[in-house]
Symmetry: C2
Subunit: 217 residues, 2 copies
DNA sequence: ACATGGTTTAACAATATTGTTAATACAAAT
DNA sequence: ATTTGTATTAACAATATTGTTAAACCATGT
């Protein structure tokens, strides 16, 4: 019976195919496409490297499976940076910075992978079709309108939301890219990882809030 | 006569060795160590790939020549971000942000290369010896003291200079990492590259200055 | 002219890396 | 029990990539 077989598959597949995918994610995430070796991935998965080709045919196809997963996660963090649409704009920005930071902190290897493997191969991974571009554009327009209204009402300073967005992502993402370096450069700063991350999060929030704060003069 | 020969060398060496170095810089900078191919480098330089090995023995040795150059440039931008020690602290920070941005803008490929090839290979490129670490630490301590004094005098808000420094670098560097992506995501924002860069520079300066601005209430 | 020494070439060697295939094991269905 | 199809293995193939070498080249100094 087919149903039974499928159920079996779903239970059993926790083995080879999954093992390869997990090993591949680890390897690709840390070493990139060029640096990763299919033989190493197979070793880490504890299977012969012929298995890898049996399940995924080529290195590229295996890689694309990983790219798809990572891309979905990145999209999540981007959306997070836009904040909760329910709240008023200033609070929306504050919550956006905070939750975006948390998401990046939960996946610190993502940024580098995404930058190297997706951003720099626009021809291969063109995940920005026109309809998506339009939706994003509309989203920014909506944000901008709301911000302009709030600025008119004296609730915040007038800002270009696209630049603000880029600043948020910069402040939240770059420290994770630089972390291995910063930890050696500023030993005590990063001495306690927990403390350092909490401080960075607070710093990003404070910096962005001050950026949109209405000037008193 | 040896002197004459050396002079000749310096004139002639604009050929093969230099050609290889230039091609290697281009390849390593855009593709990284793993992605670069010595054969391609040789082709680009217009020499046989045996020449590459003749002058640099191995791919690694050639690579290290490039790393040395890039590292020096990165050190420059880091120093630039510290601003002109002559000026008062607030102006020092403003000029630091500006000149750091300009340096990064002049070498937009550096950040990714440095992150991938140097930051992530601490064992191979340990360019942070203890004496350098101490000097940097002292530099930050000095900056902090000056900032604390200015804060006490009501000239600026009290801040952790190391965090401020990291924010400056984040705001200035990340946009260049994300540029290829941002250009497709926010077409009109990056429509005119010149305008976009000018706006980013102004945005970074404004953001940092507001961060250190004394609150009125 | 000749010797010297750095430069260049072309062909080769060695290895790494990806991908293929034929034979086999194994589990499920009929 | 036989068939069927997937999973697995081991050995091989093909190519890419780095690195080596012997011989030729060429400018310079003697």
């Amino acid at each position: 019976m087919l149903l039974i077989k499928n159920i079996m598959d779903k239970k059993e597949k926790t083995t080879t195919e999954q093992l390869i995918l997990e090993a591949a994610e680890e390897e690709f995430l840390t070493k990139g496409f060029d640096g990763a070796r299919t033989t190493v991935i197979a070793e880490r998965a504890g299977v012969t490297h012929a298995m890898l080709h049996y399940y995924f045919r080529t290195k590229e196809q295996l890689f694309e499976r990983i790219v798809a997963k990572i891309t979905a996660l990145v999209a999540q963090t981007v959306l997070a940076a836009m904040g909760d649409p329910q709240k008023p704009i200033v609070e929306r920005i504050r919550s956006g910075v905070a939750s975006h930071f948390d998401l990046v902190a939960a996946h610190p290897l993502l940024p580098r992978f995404f930058l190297n493997e997706v951003v720099l191969r626009p021809e291969r991974y063109n995940l920005l079709n026109d309809s998506l571009k339009e939706r994003i554009s509309a989203l920014f327009m909506q944000l901008q309108t709301e911000a302009d209204r709030a600025a008119g009402a004296g609730e915040m300073e007038a800002v270009d939301m696209r630049h603000l967005f880029l600043s948020i992502v910069s402040l939240n993402v770059f420290p994770f890219l630089a972390l291995p370096f910063a930890e050696r450069l500023l030993g005590d700063l990063a001495g306690d990882r927990e403390k350092f991350l909490a401080a960075r999060k607070a710093e990003a929030i404070e910096t962005i809030l001050r950026r949109i704060q209405k000037q008193k003069p």
